[in-house]
Subunit: 255 residues, 2 copies
């Protein structure tokens, strides 16, 4: 299968590395920036790359658009007409974005938080696929199953709620770790002391629903602690987050 | 060492079980409610228990107050005079709370999220200790080191910031998992699909600072996605959380 990969960001990088490890090295990479393209090419056996859309091979079997959501519409308008199956990797973008540009299209959404430099085991990453033709759904499923044990079919409507839910569970949780780190470093406490707690918080919900796993002053509705904590926060945004999250926990606890 | 344990909640339960496993079974348990006391007693070899403060042994070496923060002042006012070292297990309460009641006192704060029914490896839990006499600090340190490899000394000021930071990293993160679960269940998607993402989000920060690990629409400042996500949220509190967290992520990203 001749795969063309468009993008060299976090997701594109980890996907390219995972494909390469399975002998499915992209036949060509595209990135707007020379350096990103060259670096990613180097990681996957110096696969050919280009920074010019018009130089992309037009005889690919699969074009994977792994770019920022906001960039995709422009790219689609500029890319030379070519055959093959076009897929994007975004949670929030409906499959129909391709409809004006090509006939065979789909989505290949690996739901994970990717960083260029962090190795990740693709085998356990849920991949959600969708295509506008049954044959292509099957093809995407087979490809996804070469990378991961957790392949699901999801339509665009389901996928956009998956992405929204992932923003809460991943992006916002990670930001809470950042705020935690800020409090600790302001008081010269190393962030490492928090790692067992963070790990257990994430592990616990394998065994019980998160609402049942909830602990802390807000679920006990311990207003003394809540008020003292708020008074300790100089930063207005952090105080607002503390207040809103505590109220939301208390609301959720009501029968 | 004759240990008297006051409390039978989440923390008291897991602490009692951990002490019991090391041959340090409390000589007596107290809980306000008969059933909690009986259940916990059963878990630790039917250790004696009582629901009446006046029946507590007065010759204990160590009295551990593992109760809700809001309950501690009342308990201290009611408990019969007795010797030994008195400690509480709370992040947010200063050591001085004991000063009016006894001469030897301290804190034994295991920083973790505890649930009665979930087994936990105490060995990796950071325990922060403090006492008003050096001998007692040493005694608490030795006790803590029998339970965990991660024992630290922290004064009341540091501990209250540890607790505040833990609320962000643990209690609020867990609530985000609850909100994530709510979105998924409203769209008939099983929560299990989110577990690899949650696990990786928590694991990633072992290797990089959380600010560097941040991904998602808010850090990319992808306003299209952010606005679409907000429009998908019917619940006012969830929309407010989405908005506030996204703005906080964007603010944190500024140089």
């Amino acid at each position: 299968m001749k795969i063309i990969l468009i993008g060299a960001g976090n997701l594109a990088t980890r996907l390219a590395v995972a494909l390469h490890a399975k002998g499915l090295t992209p036949a060509c990479l595209y990135s707007r920036t020379e350096q990103s393209a060259r670096l990613l090419s180097k990681r996957i056996g110096y696969a050919p790359y280009t920074t010019r859309l018009e130089e992309l091979p037009t005889d690919g079997d699969l074009y994977i658009f792994a770019v920022k959501d906001s960039v995709l519409p422009d790219l689609l308008a500029q890319i030379p007409r070519c055959g093959g199956l076009w897929v994007h990797t975004a949670g929030s973008i409906a499959i129909e974005i391709f409809a004006d540009y090509t006939h065979r299209y789909g989505v290949f959404y690996p739901m994970q938080t990717f960083s260029k430099e962090r190795e990740i085991n693709f085998d356990q990453i849920p991949i959600f696929i969708e295509a506008n033709h049954n044959n292509d759904t099957t093809m995407l499923q087979q490809l996804a199953e070469q990378l991961s044990q957790r392949v699901y079919r999801a339509n665009s409507e389901q996928r956009k709620y998956l992405h929204l839910a992932a923003v809460f569970a991943c992006n916002f949780s990670n930001h809470l770790y950042t705020l935690c780190n800020r409090i600790l470093s302001e008081h010269n406490i190393p962030f490492e002391v928090m790692l067992p707690l963070i790990e257990e918080t994430a592990a616990k919900i394998n065994d019980m629903p998160p609402a049942e796993a909830q602990t802390g002053p807000a679920i006990r509705y311990d207003l003394n602690v809540i008020e003292r904590h708020k008074a300790m926060l100089d930063d207005e945004t952090m105080r607002a987050i503390y207040d809103l999250m505590s109220r939301s926990i208390h609301q959720s606890a009501k029968p």
